[in-house]
Homo-oligomer: 256 residues x 2
Amino acid sequence: MIPRLYIDGPLHSGLPAPLSAEQAHYLKNVLRRAEGDELRLFNGKDGEFAAKIVELKKKMGAAQVGERTREQEAEPDLTLCFAPVKRGPLEVIVQKAVEVGAARLQPVITERTVAPKLNIERLQAIATEAAEQCGRLTITSVGEPIRFAKLLDEWPQGRRLLFCDEAGDDENEEWGGREGRALPVLEALKSANSNSEGWAVLTGPEGGFSVKERSELRAKPFVTAATLGPRILRADTAAIAALVLWQAALGDWRKS
Amino acid sequence: MIPRLYIDGPLHSGLPAPLSAEQAHYLKNVLRRAEGDELRLFNGKDGEFAAKIVELKKKMGAAQVGERTREQEAEPDLTLCFAPVKRGPLEVIVQKAVEVGAARLQPVITERTVAPKLNIERLQAIATEAAEQCGRLTITSVGEPIRFAKLLDEWPQGRRLLFCDEAGDDENEEWGGREGRALPVLEALKSANSNSEGWAVLTGPEGGFSVKERSELRAKPFVTAATLGPRILRADTAAIAALVLWQAALGDWRKS
């Protein structure tokens, strides 16, 4: 297996690329690689390149960049907005969201969010490692947490939001003046297949969204509400499931 | 939150039900419950019942069974056949497969399976706990591992198998005489929507299936081959994704 690394800088065939202290450590001490060994490098914009380790010290290293092995490709514009949860499932969300193909991760603080202070740097490191291992040509960025109200207030024009309404649908509730039930997720995605400029998926904390939050979401014209089956999903399961279904219905899982 | 427990025995309104030593410990010491507190009980065949704790000792307990709160319902006949992986992702597979709604988990030893000896009892305990927490009315059973060849030889008449071909499709390979590429997963599920008596999903180990295994699978008339997007999924991500997509396309996630 040839190690695949993300380089935060330019990559050009025939020129050297510096390896960070962490990358040098990882190659030397974890993967037991040495000078002369092969790499694959990508930087999120120029595709993927073959490379060779030409220097491997304790706190730095360098690679010689060879031929381009893959061209950069357009990727689905899909953001995961999620209420942070405790560390184990949080890290599962980050790792799996990257593999499934989310472009951005946006932590959202909802009413019922109970989570320790987020270490965004650590989550970004998990996201970068997952991108290196799953063969992506880009890095999924992890944003600073924002409040639920601010998320809705500053929603970008043209972007649709798949709201995964885990609490299901109560026919007696009024949904901020809008009619209609939350649809089964594939039906919801099919019916919302509009000229949207990108999509996002929103999943809640372990306790779900409050009635007020659900009502506010349902009242927004950019929101498509969907149910994720009859069982109660954990927060991490719901996030992965929603991303997978979006990719299969509207994203790059439609290609074989 | 009212604790929900699986009882391996009969449940009748008005009669007592014994609680196991583990259940008594869990209620008393983990959840801090006492005599008089409410429960929900299910046994996989008679629906769900309200109940009250009437006795809670160190090594045993009992509940008085009250009214039936939910009728037993038919559930999708979906088996997850999966190559065991190391402990962390293995437990993620078991927990998530139960939530997503798999009826049975069948570990399969493939050529490239690298996994420690499986503790089936522990995996069954994780499956039972997940069923209790996600609101299922049944328990997902965890089978003893079987070899890949035996799985195919003894395949039940009428059951279809969704083979998630992570290695993708190589147009130059011969697939045991069968033509055609692996389809994107939703397309594959739609095209295979036959009069099958139940379904199974098969996902591989971290190293994927061997060329021989893939070729054998493609040659079976009960197999539908599908791709899960352009990135390399970890074994646990692939298993969750395949189950989610099956449920949304052909299972009980079609209901709202």
